[in-house]
Each structure stands twice: as structure tokens, then as C-alpha cells.
């Protein structure tokens, strides 16, 4: 099987860091800004950190919400970090109430800016299920407040859920792309390979057709 080609959503935020990590692991990557970029076919998608309000707005405007949702339902593996976690959540909690997540494909409730402003940003050691001990970087980060029974909790910090997996969907409240540790990206690439094996070589086409 050829190397995985991973789309990295490049509307705003730290998308280059993800691409650097993928290239260090030998995976091919491409930037996704418009519907046409996505239609060219990817084996997986990364939604990076940035401002979730900005990325969510641009996803809708550039016609990317529907094709990404359809691809997710067809089995496309997706990895969201920080803002990406928020966008994938079914429900987002803010001080002003609860809203639906723009993509909303993961059955979780996420709290935005859960640790307050920049002074609340921090680094912590945590155990990531299936990977081991990692250093996690949280920047004005969210955390997950509730998960459906079929969602696997992969990591917690101070009892709070900070990494989850729902089948082929992976999301972290922290930023593995800001560290030099590639293990979480490797975990995602393995997830892609597993799904490619199950779905067969046609999945790239089927998953992104809409």
C-alpha cells in the first residue's frame, strides 16, 4: 500500500506544524482550503489548532462542512487538536450557553476555553492509552465534559478528559504538533492504515466523494 496522504485543514492556525510532523513520519500531506482541494482525495484529515470560531466560519463559507461530514460518515479518519476537537464535538459549552459543533460528528460535549485565558495555558504529563506517557501542551484549551458510551477516553489530566476516540475519529484538547514527540501522529497514521485495510483501496475515492 502506498504512503498515506493526509489532508491538513489550512484555513487558519497551526497547520504547518502538523505537516512537519507528518513529513517527519514519512506521510504525504496536502493543505485543504477549499472544497476542490478536498475533492482530490485524502486518506485522512487533520483539523489543527487555531481559533475555532474562525475555522468554523470559514469551513461553512467555503463549502467544506458537508463534504467533510459525508466523508466522516463514509469512514474517513479525522484527527482534531484543540480547535479541531471543538469543531468535531456534537455540543460546545461556553459561558453563554451550549451550541452545536459545526462538524458535530463526535458524540461528546466540550467546554471551550476551559482553563481560562493565556495565563491558564500549561504543560502536563499524562498517560495516553495505547501510547504511554506523553507531555501535553494546552493553549487556551478546551476539555471534554461528557462522552457517549461508545466514545473511548484516551487521556485525562487532573481527572478532566483531554483525549478521545470514537472509531475512526481522534481528538485531543492538547497539541502534539507543538512537541517533538511524534507518537500521537503515528497513532493516527496507524488508525488510517487500519481503516484503509478494512475499507480497501477504494476508500480514498468513496470517502471524499460527495
Amino acid at each position: 500500500m502506498s504512503a498515506a496522504r493526509v489532508g491538513v485543514l489550512a484555513l487558519q492556525g497551526a497547520f504547518r506544524e502538523h505537516r512537519n510532523m507528518l513529513s517527519a513520519l514519512g506521510a504525504e500531506s496536502m493543505e485543504i482550503r477549499r472544497r476542490g482541494d478536498f475533492a482530490r482525495g485524502v486518506d485522512g484529515l487533520i483539523i489543527p489548532g487555531g481559533e475555532s470560531t474562525v475555522i468554523g466560519m470559514l469551513l461553512a463559507e467555503y463549502g467544506l462542512l458537508a463534504p467533510i461530514r459525508a466523508a466522516v460518515r463514509a469512514g474517513l479518519p479525522v484527527f482534531g487538536t484543540c480547535a479541531g476537537l471543538i469543531l468535531l464535538s456534537k455540543h460546545i459549552r461556553t459561558p453563554h450557553g451550549t451550541a452545536r459543533g459545526p462538524l458535530g460528528e463526535m458524540d461528546i460535549v466540550t467546554q471551550r476555553n476551559a482553563y481560562g485565558r493565556q495565563l491558564g495555558s500549561f504543560r502536563a504529563e499524562t498517560r495516553f492509552a495505547g501510547v504511554g506517557d506523553i507531555a501535553a501542551v494546552f493553549i487556551r484549551a478546551p476539555h471534554v465534559v461528557r462522552v457517549a458510551p461508545h466514545v473511548e477516553v484516551l487521556a485525562r489530566v487532573d481527572g478532566k478528559i483531554v483525549a478521545v476516540r470514537q472509531g475512526h475519529l481522534l481528538a485531543t484538547a492538547f497539541h502534539p504538533e507543538l512537541t517533538s514527540d511524534p507518537r500521537i501522529h503515528q497513532y493516527f497514521l496507524t488508525l488510517i492504515e487500519t481503516h484503509r485495510a478494512v475499507l480497501g483501496p477504494c476508500c480514498r475515492e468513496a470517502a471524499t466523494k460527495n
Partner: protein
Amino acid sequence: MQEDRYELNKNLAQMLKGGVIMDVSTPEQAQIAEAAGACAVMALERIPADIRAAGGVSRMSDPKMIKSIQAAVSIPVMAKCRIGHIAEARILEAIEIDYIDESEVLSPADDVYHIDKRAFQVPFVCGARDLGEALRRVGEGAAMIRTKGEPGTGDVVQAVRHMRKIMGEIRALTARSKDELYEAAKQLAAPYALVQYVAKNGKLPVVNFAAGGVATPADAALMMLLGAEGVFVGSGIFKSGDPAKRAAAIVRAVTHYTDAGQLAALSEDLGEAMVGINEQEISLLMAERGQ
């Protein structure tokens, strides 16, 4: 400042990349900016064009006004303190500002020393006109750099000059041999370790935005093409005919800066741009404040 905290502060700037940071003076303007897709706002009582028009001494904004903007939006909020004004910076830190801009737009409080930014928990962004200045600020603890440009003019020429200079000097450093870097550090009047970093990596050790005089989507795209990682827009938005529309167009221009078809569509029908002043017509060059 702990090394961890400095890393976290540089990391926040990484999250702002590919985005637009807008100057706002009221909670209403902050909400317009957020709805248009700003990745952060800069809270200040008077935007640079008005500071320039009013003259006199320009200081940190009223904390009450800054807090009202913090309460109005969920995106990061930045605010400016005067160059070298340690107390203003402490006040901004006390109200938990997300980023302090030690800014030449305000009247400098100290004409020799910049703030020791490593003594703070909150991050700082500073302006620079060339690589040496950028690295001196990073040496003092700035977690993000922006070009100085010439604020409040709507004339992008100085931001272009500063970005060209910084990127050109970075490229030149990467071609130097190891033993030439000591002399390069001396010429740049910059810390040797940072010069070494730039020579090795071909980029600044922190995120680099464009600022000063950006007034149109095309201006923003130009700065991205020259190597900016994002854009500050000051007077360009709320001094224009249709701020909401122009703000939204500039945000999209930064995302799609290589897509000329998109830029053409975004540039249509934006109403009047800020009038602007050419650099030859102004007597006060803010960019020369703080070296």
C-alpha cells in the same frame, strides 16, 4: 520567567497564524471583528489614525475599557503598553490580558530600555524594522514579532520595507559559514545564540506578523506573500466605509492569499477604504520609536 511559560507563550502565537488581529475601541467593534473572523483583537481607546490626528502623549488604555472588550468576545484580547513602561505592563498582566503589545504606537515611556519581558507570565509582541531589532526584542523575551510599518497611515510601504528587510537578512544569514556568525551577530547587534538559531533554521524563533498600514485585502495578501505569518489591521478597518465587510474580506484574503481569483472577488465592492496619508506627508514616524 520559566522556560515552560515562554514556550507556552510562543505557542499561543502559533495558534494565531494565518489569522488577522484587529484594533478595536469598543465592545461593539470587538464583536464585529469576531463575527468577521478575527483570530484576536487589540483593545485600545484610540486607533492609530486618531492618535496621529490628536497628537499629544498617548498611553495605555483604561483597564475598564479593556475588560469590557474581554467580556464581549471569546477570542484572545491583546492591549498595548508604552515602550519601557513596566508598570503599565504589570497592570495589563493583572487583568489577564492574553498578549501585551509593547508598542511604538503609544508615546515611549523609556527612550533607552525596553521591558524585560522574561520577568512576566503573559506574552509580549513587539515591533521590528529589521532582523537585529527583531532578535533584540526576542532576546528580551518577546514571544511574537510584528513589523512596525507606519501605523495609522493606510500606507503599506513601510510594512513592506520592514518585512523585506527582515526576510532578506534571514536568507543572508543562512548562507553564512559558522565562523562568520560572530561578526554577523555584532553587525546585527543581536544575541549570538539567536543569530545561530536563525542561520540554522532560516526563520525567526517566534511567529512573525505584518503590521502598519494594511488597508485592503490585497495589502494583507501582499504581506503574506512576502513571508508574514498573519496580519494586524489597525485603522484600516474601522476607518473605512463598511468595517464589517472589509474586516471579513481581509480575513479571507489572508487564508487565500495565493488564490488571485478569490482575492479579486474579495476586493469587490468594499466601499471606501480609509483615506490614508503617504509616508512623505507625515511628520511623526512612529516606527523610529524604540530601537
